[in-house]
C-alpha cells in the first residue's frame, strides 16, 4: 500500500468551483483532504507565480479550477488561465516536473459530484507519482 499523503493546492474560482466545493460539502460528498482549497475571484487571477510558489513551498500537485468556457464572470479570465496553464506545463516539464502534477479543469457551482471526481482523481494521480522532491536552489547555501 502507498501511504504517501500528497499536498495538493487547488486554486478555486469563487463563482464556480469554490461554490461547487461548498455544495459537495452540503451534500456530504467526501473528497480527499489532501487537496487544500485556495479561493480566488477568478481562475484568471491565478498568477503563474502562485503555481511556482506552491511547488517551491512543498506542494506535490497544483490544481486550477475555473468556470466552464463562456461562463467566466469576467468574460475571459478562464481563457487566459488556460493559455497560462499551457505555457506553464511546457515550462515545468523542463524542470523535471511531471505533466500530471498541474491540472486545470472547469467545474460549475452546481457540479458537486464533478468537483468530488476531479479532486479525488488528482489526489490519486499525485499519490501514485509520489513526493515531488524539488531539490535545486530551494535549499540555499552553495551546495
Amino acid at each position: 500500500m502507498n501511504n504517501f499523503e500528497p499536498k495538493i493546492v487547488a486554486f478555486t474560482c469563487n463563482w464556480c468551483s469554490y461554490a461547487g466545493a461548498d455544495k459537495a460539502g452540503m451534500m456530504k460528498l467526501k473528497y480527499s483532504d489532501d487537496v487544500k482549497l485556495i479561493r480566488v475571484m477568478c481562475s484568471g487571477r491565478v498568477d503563474p507565480q502562485f503555481v511556482m510558489d506552491a511547488f517551491r513551498e512543498g506542494a506535490d500537485g497544483v490544481m486550477i479550477l475555473g468556470c466552464h468556457p463562456g461562463d467566466c464572470h469576467y468574460r475571459t479570465g478562464n481563457v487566459k488561465a488556460f493559455k497560462r496553464y499551457k505555457l506553464l506545463k511546457k515550462t515545468l516539464a523542463q524542470f523535471g516536473i511531471n505533466d500530471k502534477r498541474l491540472k486545470l479543469d472547469w467545474v460549475a457551482a452546481g457540479e458537486a459530484e464533478l468537483f468530488q471526481k476531479v479532486v479525488n482523481e488528482m489526489a490519486e494521480t499525485v499519490k501514485e507519482l509520489g513526493p515531488l522532491h524539488l531539490t535545486g536552489n530551494v535549499e540555499q547555501g552553495g551546495k
Binding site: 523542463q94 523535471g96 531539490t135
Partner: protein, 325 residues
Amino acid sequence: MAKPKVAFYWCASCGGCGETVVDLADKILDVVAAVDIILWPIAMDFKYKDIRAMEDGSIAVSFINGAVRTEEQKEIAELLRKKSGLVVAFGSCSSLGGIPALANLTSKKKIFERSYLKSPTVVNPEGVVPKTKSKVDGYELALPEFYESVYKLNDVIDVDYYLPGCPPTPDLIVNAVNAILEGKLPPKGAILSPDKSLCNSCDRNESKPEDVAISEIKRVIDVEIDPEKCFLAQGIICMGPATRDGCGASCINGNMPCTGCFGPTDSCKDQGAKMIGTLGAILEGDEEETIDKALDGLVDPAGTFYRYGLSASMLGSARKEEEDE
C-alpha cells in the same frame, strides 16, 4: 588619506563583466586614480594569500561577477565578504545566476558525462573524470568541488548591492562607483537600476496596440524584423514587460528583442512566471489546438523566460532525481 581599497573578482562568468570595466575607457582612469585596486584577476596579478593577510573589513568594496558553481568560488566570495565593507554583485550571473545557471536545467552527472565521456571530441577510454582528491606519484592533488547547481552570489554570502546586466552598462557602473565614493548609497539590498519595466522606456512601446494579439510565436531567425514595431506585436518574444529598465534598451536599438538580462523589477518574484502571465494574456484563440500551434514556435520556454535568471527563479533548478514518474 589612504585611497579606498577595491577588489574585482570573477566566479563562473564569461569575462564580459571584466571587459566592461575596461570599456569604461577614460572614465576608468578617474576611478583608478581615486582607488587602490588590490585584486583583479582578469587584468592584474595578485595572490589570495595577500588578501587573507589583510584586516577584516579593510577593503572598501568588492565587485564580484559570475555565478557560484565551484567550491573555490564560494571560498573566495566568503573571503572577500569578510575583508570588505561592501560587496556588490556585479552583473546578471552574480545577481541572478546568468547564462551559467542555464545548466540548472540539467545535472552535474549529465554535464560530467557529456564533457568528459560522451562528447564526440573526447577520447577518454579509461573514463577519467575530475575528482576533488587524487593521488599522483605520491602527491595528493585537490580540485575544488563542482556543485550540483549554479548559485547566485547571495545564496552563499551577504550582498549589499546589485548591478544588473549582461554586462552592466558603463553608465550604471560609473553611477554606482560615484555613489559609493560620495557615500550616497540607497538602502542596503538595492538593485542599482530603475525599478520599472523596460517597456516603459522603449521607443517601440508607442507602436504596441492596445490589445496585442499574437497567433504565432516566431523566432528571430525565421522572420524579417520590422525595425519600428513592438517585438511582441510581431509575435517575437521580447522579455521587456518582465525585465527591469536601465540598459537604455540596447538590444531593441540593435533591432533585437530583449532577452531579459536585467532581471525582474522589485515587485516581481519570478521573471519567467511574469512573462508566462503576460504571454497568456496576449495569445490569440481559445481552442487548445490553436494555442498548441502558436506555442510550437516556443522551443525552449525555460531557457527563454529564465535566460539569465534560473538561480533567482522560484524553482531554482530542475529536479535532480532521474525521472518524475
